[in-house]
């Protein structure tokens, strides 16, 4: 974003200056309606303008593609000094890109809250998202009912939660701290309240303690919850229903 602002600012200032200059210096002087000089065009100027804008745009596109392609993506934007995520880009639906060392976390969205399941820890379902620092995480985002969007601002993650779809996103938290989770896709009347301010990035040992506690707390419920799966459907419709 900084690069784009750096490129946009001269363009903006340049055009605005041209507008203001025209308003001041190319005003009609006097009450008579006099015609201006009959300039029909100037090929070198047009070529230059189109060429320069094309170069700027292509440069931005190349930088953007390079950013997407690399696994060391730039810091999460918008929260200078507070960002704690280094997002590894999105893998999209269904293709698990990670090796075994990535922590597998499933984000389940529903009207109107998020829950999280840790596949490596018996599929325990928790109501807050805790992540260990400096460890690559593979997030699997899905939904139980309609489209939501998991937006963890400080982690630099935004991934839509679609029913029946396993939307995969990678992130490697780099600093401990807290992060805000909001829903970013209109999902009904309580869309605005579908937020969680208790996301945490903690040290590995704190994380182990926390997850063990979660497993203990939710042990009774775990038996009733459906087993971990990439997505969850209601019972299949039978013929004629």
């Amino acid at each position: 974003m900084t690069l784009m602002t750096a490129m946009a600012t001269p363009v903006f200032i340049g055009v605005v200056m041209m507008i203001i200059y025209s308003a001041i210096y190319f005003r009609r002087t006097g009450p008579e309606l006099v015609d201006g000089p009959p300039m029909l065009g100037n090929t070198p100027v047009q070529v230059a303008w189109i060429g320069i804008s094309a170069i700027m745009v292509l440069f931005l596109a190349v930088v953007g593609i390079a950013t997407l392609a690399s696994s060391n993506v730039a810091q999460a934007v918008g929260a200078p000094g507070r960002s704690i995520g280094q997002s590894g880009g999105q893998t999209g639906s269904g293709t698990a890109g990670g090796s075994g060392s990535e922590l597998q976390v499933q984000v389940i969205a529903q009207q109107w809250y998020f829950t999280y399941r840790y596949q490596d820890y018996g599929g325990v379902e928790t109501t807050h998202l805790y992540l260990p620092v400096n460890r690559p995480v593979e997030l699997h985002v899905t939904s139980l009912d309609i489209i939501h969007s998991f937006w963890a601002y400080q982690l630099g993650v935004k991934a839509d939660a679609n029913p029946g779809v396993d939307n995969i996103f990678h992130v490697t938290p780099q600093k401990t701290g807290s992060f805000q989770v909001r829903c970013a896709e209109l999902c009904g009347i309580w869309h605005g309240e579908m937020a969680d301010s208790q996301g945490r990035v903690v040290s590995q040992s704190d994380f182990d303690t926390w997850i063990a506690q979660q497993q203990k707390d939710y042990a009774a419920i775990q038996k009733a919850v459906p087993s971990y799966a990439p997505h969850y459907f209601p019972l299949p419709l039978t013929k004629g229903s």
């Binding site: 974003m1 784009m4 946009a8 903006f12 055009v15 041209m18 507008i19 025209s22 308003a23 190319f26 005003r27 009609r28 002087t29 006099v34 015609d35 201006g36 000089p37 009959p38 300039m39 029909l40 065009g41 100037n42 047009q46 189109i50 804008s53 745009v57 931005l60 596109a61 953007g64 950013t67 997407l68 999460a76 934007v77 918008g78 929260a79 880009g89 999105q90 893998t91 999209g92 985002v141 009912d145 309609i146 489209i147 935004k158 839509d160 679609n162 029913p163 029946g164 779809v165 909001r182 829903c183 970013a184 896709e185 209109l186 009904g188 009347i189 869309h191 605005g192 459907f233 419709l237």
Partner: protein, 623 residues
């Protein structure tokens, strides 16, 4: 014989006008509901409501007289119109099916401005609700209804606000034609708009609809009867886009006067031309999506339910394949207006005319290849994203051409800063910001933060309101003297411009910051730390609404309280629409004019007037 010798539709036994139409529509609605409930398979009565709306619209159109001509031809009845006792004068012609493109243009203008008022009131309600960071002012259920109504009403409006009034009124005049190609189709494209607006407003009775204008399923399948208003209303607008597109293109292609070559065409007509191509071809995709949603909601098919073989991505792809060209339908006519007005006020030829036309076509063509930028975080295959990022960023090149052409026209000009010209300058500033913010959103890594936040709200309000609505204001101040024969007060106009420009920027610029600071869109509750900014925005929005009221006051004052009659050509412009008298005669030109020069030939020694009105004997337009 059925050329447009007469300008109102053949009458049947009952007089065909708006009153008849409404009287037909009301019982037809209830008949449709009854029929739908007989056959409907769904307990939610969606079938009844949808069929009821369609029956009501059909009966409305029949009451206006749309069925007269086709029915007469089918039954073999004589089709000679009752033209002698039905002259095309009087205020009643605005409430009837008129085949005169000028009347249709005025009908559009009044209808759309009234709709704009209601959309604006919705916006005021939304901003008032956002004075409080929790949902205390408006409960969430009402808030989401307001969002849906405001946004969809505005979409209906902005789809047609320039092409409808000004395209219809001016295109035949600008190309030297005495009529449009398909007057009945054009009238149809107007007369589906009031039913669409009423059906949309009717959603209030069902508690509105919860999806905003994008209608994403499965939420739209979960929704109550208010969603059916969205489906039927939007389908009617799609019909309007297709019929208007076909008619405009056929008119411009076939009915140009002799000598009106493609290179002498006013750039506004090129803007309408490119818009019509987009409208005609994109709206069918919307219709497909809406029919599928209607089927899912009524007979429980599963186009969009992943559990039963459907996919919510199907809607997103179909909708945005329409939706992205749709936003260029909003802005291309505005580009046409700006590039049209600036040469006439700068008293210089349009600088780089052919480049400008290429720019319009470039935008239109590229708009088909970018739609997946709305789906960057939806979970599409990652390999697709670089392509769409590139294609979206490429659109800024033809858009930049518009600025190039306009700034080049201003260079070393002798600009007459009238109120329309002020709005053109405001457009340039606003659209610059809007366009640049679009580049931010097109970059995928940045979009991850900005998608679905107030940043994208600010982007599209800058481009649509700061762009298209400012162009609308310019068009009103510029062309109303021709359309209604009176000048709007320039003094009030200047106050209106500065008030609107400053209030607009004060309202929408902070939204970029609010978006970067993590506030999602379409929410009634937000982080209390953002309350100060939101309050600033709300207060500014009240001022913005006030500026629109001032515009309305200017219109009423200038039209009804002051007698400043407009001369035929108050701006001393060269283009063809200013060479006819005010009020414009029934068939525009006594004889088909012979075009001998372009409309922007200012400053050229020995420039000829643009047309020879003696005409050629035996000429028809279309040469």
């Amino acid at each position: 014989m059925v050329t447009a010798d007469f300008l109102s539709e053949r009458r049947m036994t009952i007089p065909n006008n708006l009153v008849t139409a409404i009287l037909f529509a009301i019982p037809a609605y209830f008949a449709g509901v009854w029929l739908g409930n007989l056959f409907g398979l769904n307990d939610d009565q969606n079938t009844g409501v949808i069929i009821g709306y369609f029956f009501a619209t059909g009966a409305f159109l029949i009451g206006l007289g749309f069925l007269n001509y086709p029915l007469a031809r089918l039954m073999g009845w004589p089709v000679a119109p009752v033209a002698t006792t039905e002259p095309n004068v009087g205020v009643g012609r605005f409430f009837r099916l008129s085949l005169d493109h000028k009347v249709i243009g005025m009908q559009y203008l009044i209808t759309i401005l009234v709709m704009l008022l209601f959309g604006g009131i919705g916006a005021m309600a939304i901003r008032t609700s956002l004075l409080s960071p929790n949902s205390s002012i408006t409960p969430p259920g009402q808030y989401i209804m307001l969002i849906g109504l405001h946004s969809v009403m505005m979409i209906f409006i902005t789809s047609a606000v320039i092409v409808g009034p000004f395209g219809n009124y001016l295109v035949p005049l600008m190309i030297g034609a005495r009529r449009m190609a398909f007057p009945r189709l054009e009238a149809l494209s107007f007369w589906v708009v009031p039913p669409a607006a009423v059906i949309l407003a009717a959603a209030v009775f069902w508690g509105g609809f919860p999806t905003g204008w994008t209608g994403y399923p499965p939420l739209s399948e979960q929704a109550g009867q208010g969603m059916d208003s969205y489906i039927v209303g939007f389908t009617l607008i799609a019909i309007a886009l297709v019929t208007s597109g076909i008619n405009m293109l056929a008119t411009i292609i076939t009915l140009r006067a002799p000598g009106m070559t493609w290179t002498r065409l006013p750039i506004f007509v090129w803007g309408i031309f490119t818009t019509s191509i987009l409208g005609m071809l994109a709206a069918p995709f919307l219709a497909v999506a809406l029919f599928q949603l209607a089927l899912d909601r009524t007979v429980l098919t599963s186009f969009f339910l992943a559990s039963n073989g459907g996919s919510n991505y199907l809607w997103q792809n179909l909708f945005w394949f329409f939706g992205h060209p749709e936003v260029y339908i909003f802005i291309l006519p505005a580009f046409g207006i700006i590039m049209e007005l600036v040469p006439h006020f700068a008293r210089k030829p349009l600088w780089g005319y052919r480049t400008g036309v290429v720019g319009l076509f470039g935008v239109a063509l590229l708009s088909w290849f970018v739609w997946q930028h709305h789906l960057f975080v939806s979970g599409i295959a990652p390999v697709l994203r670089p392509f769409y990022m590139l294609s979206t960023e490429l659109i800024s090149i033809p858009t930049g051409i518009i600025f190039l052409v306009t700034l080049g026209t201003l260079w070393r000009a002798r600009v007459w800063f009238t109120v329309p010209m002020l709005f053109c300058m405001g457009f340039l500033f606003n659209f610059l910001i809007g366009g640049i913010s679009g580049v931010y959103l097109s970059d995928v890594p940045t979009d991850v933060t900005l998608h679905g936040s107030y940043f994208s709200m600010a982007h599209f309000h800058y481009t649509i309101m700061g762009g298209e609505i400012f162009a609308l204001m310019a068009a009103c101040y510029y062309w109303l003297p021709k359309m209604v024969g009176k000048m709007l007060s320039p003094t009030i106009g200047r106050i209106h411009f500065w008030w609107m420009f400053l209030a607009f920027n004060s309202t929408f610029f902070p939204l970029f910051i609010i978006g970067i600071l993590d506030m999602p869109r379409r929410v009634s509750a937000y982080d209390p730390a953002l309350q100060a900014l939101n309050t600033w925005v709300t207060v500014s929005s009240y001022f913005l609404f006030g500026s629109m009221i001032l515009f309305a006051a200017n219109v009423v004052y200038s039209l009804f309280f002051v007698s400043r009659l407009a001369i035929a050509n108050p701006w001393h412009a060269r283009s063809l629409e200013w060479q006819v008298p005010t009020p414009v005669p029934e068939h525009n030109f006594e004889r088909v004019p012979l075009i001998v020069a372009g409309p922007y030939d200012y400053g050229l020694p020995n420039a000829r007037p643009v047309a020879d009105f003696g005409g050629l004997v035996g000429a028809t337009s279309g040469g």
